[in-house]
C-alpha cells in the first residue's frame, strides 16, 4: 500500500480495488464450485479467511486481468467488471456478477489524498465479500459443468491492449437481479450485484 494511514491516493485506491477484485473473484469461483475445492488454499486477508486458487493456469489468467484492470482503474477508464458463468453443455449464461465502478475523475487532476482510512474501506470490502459468500444460499445450484469469463466495460475512446478483444455483454434472458452492498474508497465506488437465470421450476 503506497497510501498513508490517514488518506488515500488514486494509485492506492486503484490497488485496493484491484485487490478486492482478485479476492472477490477467487471467492466467487470457490463458492460457486467452478473449480474443484481442493485446488484452493486458505489465506488470511482483510482480517478474514479467504480461499485462493492454486491452479497455475487460473492464477496466470487472474494476475493478467487484475494487473490490466489496475492500470485502467488508475486511468479511470473502466466502468464495469463482470464475471460471467456459462454452462458448457448448453452455452447458456447462468450467472452474471456485475461490479459497477464509478470513478471520481477529478482525482486524476488533483493528487491530494482523500481522507478516508484504509481500515474503514477494508471493513466495507469485508462486508461485501461476506455478502457474496452468503448469496450461495439463494442462488440456484449449478448442475452442469460451467466455466467463467471476465468482461470489462471500458470507455470507447481507449486503446485496446494486445491479447484483449471485444466481446458481447453476455446478457441473461429472463434474469433475476439482486443488489449487493457497495463500498467506496472515495475515489472509486464499487456497486456489486448478481443476476441469475430464473429456474424453470417456478
Amino acid at each position: 500500500m503506497t497510501s498513508t494511514l490517514k488518506g488515500i491516493t488514486l494509485k492506492g485506491s486503484a490497488e485496493l480495488v484491484a485487490d478486492f477484485f482478485s479476492f472477490g473473484i477467487n471467492s466467487i469461483l470457490y463458492q460457486r464450485g467452478i473449480y474443484p475445492p481442493e485446488t484452493f488454499t486458505r489465506v488470511t486477508h482483510y482480517d478474514m479467511i479467504l480461499q485462493q486458487t492454486t491452479d497455475p493456469n487460473l492464477k496466470n489468467y487472474l494476475t493478467d486481468v487484475v494487473s490490466q484492470l489496475k492500470e485502467w482503474l488508475f486511468e479511470c477508464t473502466v466502468q464495469k467488471l463482470v464475471l460471467v458463468i456459462t454452462s458448457l453443455e448448453t452455452n447458456d449464461v447462468l450467472e452474471r456478477w456485475q461490479f459497477d465502478i464509478e470513478c471520481d475523475k477529478s482525482a486524476k487532476e488533483s493528487s491530494a489524498p482523500r481522507e478516508k482510512s484504509i481500515k474503514t474501506i477494508q471493513d466495507e470490502i469485508r462486508s461485501v465479500i461476506r455478502q457474496v459468500t452468503a448469496t450461495v444460499t439463494f442462488l440456484p445450484l449449478l448442475e452442469t459443468p460451467c466455466a467463467f469469463d471476465l468482461l470489462v466495460y471500458t470507455d470507447k475512446d481507449m486503446v485496446v491492449p494486445e491479447k484483449w478483444v471485444e466481446s458481447g455483454p453476455q446478457i441473461i434472458e429472463q434474469s433475476e437481479e439482486v443488489r449487493l452492498r457497495s463500498f467506496t474508497t472515495s475515489i472509486h465506488k464499487v456497486n456489486s450485484m448478481v443476476a441469475y437465470r430464473k429456474t424453470d421450476s417456478f
Binding site: A147, Y153, T154, V160, I172
Partner: protein, 719 residues
Amino acid sequence: MDLEDDTTVLTTLKSFNSFISRTEPQQRLTERPGSGTLQGQYKRSMELLEAADRLNSTNRYLQLDQEKKQMELSHKRARFELEKTASDRTRALEHEVDRNQELLTQIKKLKERESEMERNLTEKGDANRALWKNLEALNKKLEDRDGRLSSANQTVSTLKDEVRELKQKIQNQDCTICAQTLENQELQEQLDLQRRKYQDVSQLYQSLQATQSTCSDHVIKIKELERRLALQEQDVAIMKTVKSELARVPGMEKELKNLRGDNSFLRESRENCSLLKEEVEGLRKKLERMEKMKEDLVNMELEKNRMAEKLQAWENLGQSTGLNIRKPEDLSREVIQIQQREFALKEQNYTLNSRVRSAERSHSDVCAELSEQRGKTLEEKKKRELQDTLVRRLQKRLMLLNKERDGMRAILESYDSELGSTEYSPQLSKRLKEAEDVLQRTQNHNVELEAELNKTHKEMGTLKLQLQTVELELESVKKQHAANADSSCSATKEELSILRQKIEDLEADRQRLEEQNNNLEMRLERHNLQGDYDPLKTRVLHLKMNPTSVAKQQRQQEMETIQEEVTRLRELVRSLQDGGSLVQSQDDSIVPNLGLGLPPSKEVLDLRKQMESSELKNQRLKEVFQRKIQEFRTVCYILTGYQMDITTENQYRLTSVYAEHMDDSLLFKKGSNGSMQLMETEFSKTLGEMVSLHLHHQKSIPAFLSAVTLDLFSRQTTI
C-alpha cells in the same frame, strides 16, 4: 634371532653341498674323454682349480656377506635400541624441563601470593587498628547501654509483676476453658449419639426407598397385568364377535352369490343403460341442433320481416319526401346536399358571430363614450350650478349696490337739501359723478354677466340635447346587445368548454407521458442491472484466452474424440452383428485399436477366456472321439470283415474285406421298431440263396453276413 641365523648357515651349507655334488659327476664326465692330452688335462685341472677357487671365494663371499648381514642386523638392532633409549631420555628430559617450568611458575605464583599476603597483612593491621578504635567507642556506648539496661531492668521487674498478675488471670481463664472443654466433650458425645441415630435412620430410609422402588415395580407389573387382562378381555370380546360373524358367513356367502348374480345382471343392464344413454345423448344433441335451427329460422324470418319493413319505410320515405330516394346513392346525394347547406349555414353563422363581435366591440366603444359624455354632463351641471350661484351672488350684490346707491342718493339729497349748493357741492358732485361712473360700470358688468349666463344656458341646452341623443344611442345599442347576447354567450361558453377539454386532454397526456417516462427509466435501470450498455460510449473487452473459451475448446476436442470412438465402436458392433466368421479376423485388427480408447472390461476378458477354453475342450473331445471312432471302425473291420458306413439317416452300408469289386456292398435300413432290413443292391441280387436261407428262414443277419464272408473268402482263396 639366533635360530634364524643358524638356519641361514644351514641353507648355505646345503647349497654348497649340492653344488659340490653337482660338480663331481661333471668332473667324472670330463675325465673320461679328456685322457688324450695332458695339456688339455692340465688346463682342465687349472680351470677346475680356478673354478674351485672361485667357488670357494664365492662361498666365502657368501659367508662373509651373511656375516655382514648379521652384523648389519645386529647393528641395526643396537642402533634401534639406542635410538629408542635416546628418545626415551629426550622424552624424560622434556618431561623434566616441563616440570621445571611448572615448578618455576608455581614459585612465581607463590611469590605473588606471598606479596599479596603481605599486602593483606598490612591492610589487616590497619583494619585492626581501626577496629580497636571502634571497639573503644563501642565500649563507651556499651556503658551507656548498661546504664539504660539497669533502668530497663527496673521496668522489667515492674513488668514482671504485671506479668505475674496476668498469669494468674490466665490460670483462671484456663480453668474456665477446662470447664468449657468438658462441656464440649459432653456435647460431642451427644453429637456422636445423634450421628449414630441419624445413620440408623438413614439406613432405614434407604431400606424404605428400596421397598418403595420394589413397590413401584410391583405396581407397574400390576398395571401391566391389568392391561393384559383388559387386552385379553378385548380379545375374548373380539373372539365372540368373530365367532358370531363366522356363524353368519355361510348365509353371507349365499347372499354373496345372489349379489354376484345381481351384479352381473346390473352390469349388463348398466351397459345397456350406457348404450341407451349414449343414444339419448345423441338424440338430445340432434334435438338441440334442431331447436337451434328452428330458432335461427325464426330469427331469420323476423329479420326478413324487419328488412322488408325497412325497405318499405325507405320506399315510403322516398314517396313522402318527394325526393328520388330509391337507392342509397340518392340518400347519400341528399345527405351531401344537406351537408353543403349546413356548411353554408355555418358560414353564415360565423359571419353573424363576427358581426356580433364587431357590434359588441362598437357597443363597448359607445359605452365608453357614454360614460365620457356623462362625465361631461356632470361637469357641465356643476359649471351651471356654479354659474347659478354666481348669478345669485351678483344679483344680491346688485341689490346691495342699488340699496347703497339709493342710500347714497338719499344722503346726497339730504346733504343737498341741508346745504343746498354750498361749498361742499363741487366735491359732492364730483363724488356723485364718480359713484355714478362706478354704478355705470357695475351695470355694464352686470349686463355682461347676464349675457354670459344666457350663453351658458344655451350651452347647457345643447349639452342636454347631446346627452339625450347619446342616451338614445345607448339604449339602441343595449337592445342590440341584448339581441346578440345569447349567441355570443353560447359561443364563448363553447369556446370555454373546448378549451377546458383541451386542457384536460393535455393533462392526461402529461400523466401518460410521465408514466411512460417512469417505465422507461425503470426499464433502463433493469437493463443496466442486466448488463446492457451504451455502445456509443462503452465497449466490452475480455482476454482472448479466457477460461470459458479454453474449456469450450477442450470440450469440443473431447467430443470429437468421443464421437470418433463411438463411430469405431458402432462399426465393431455392426461387424459383430453381421457374422461370426468375420468377427475373428476383425476382432484381431480392431481390438488393439480400441486398446487406446477403451480397455476391454474384465468380464469380457473372462468370458473370452472361458470361450477359448471351452472351444479347446471341444476340439480335444472331437479329436479324441474321432480317434476312438477310427480305432473302433478299424477294429470292427478287422474282426468282422466288414466296413460300416452311414450313407443317409438310418441307412448303413456294409462292404466286405473280401469283396471282388469296390462297389459290392450290402445296404441295411433301420426300421422304426429297431429291426434291420436288407435293401436291394446289385451285389445283394447275386446272393439270393443266402438271403432266402439265412434271412427268410433263419432270420439271422449275423449268420447271413458270416456266410457271405465265408463265400467271398473261399472264392478269393480258390483263385
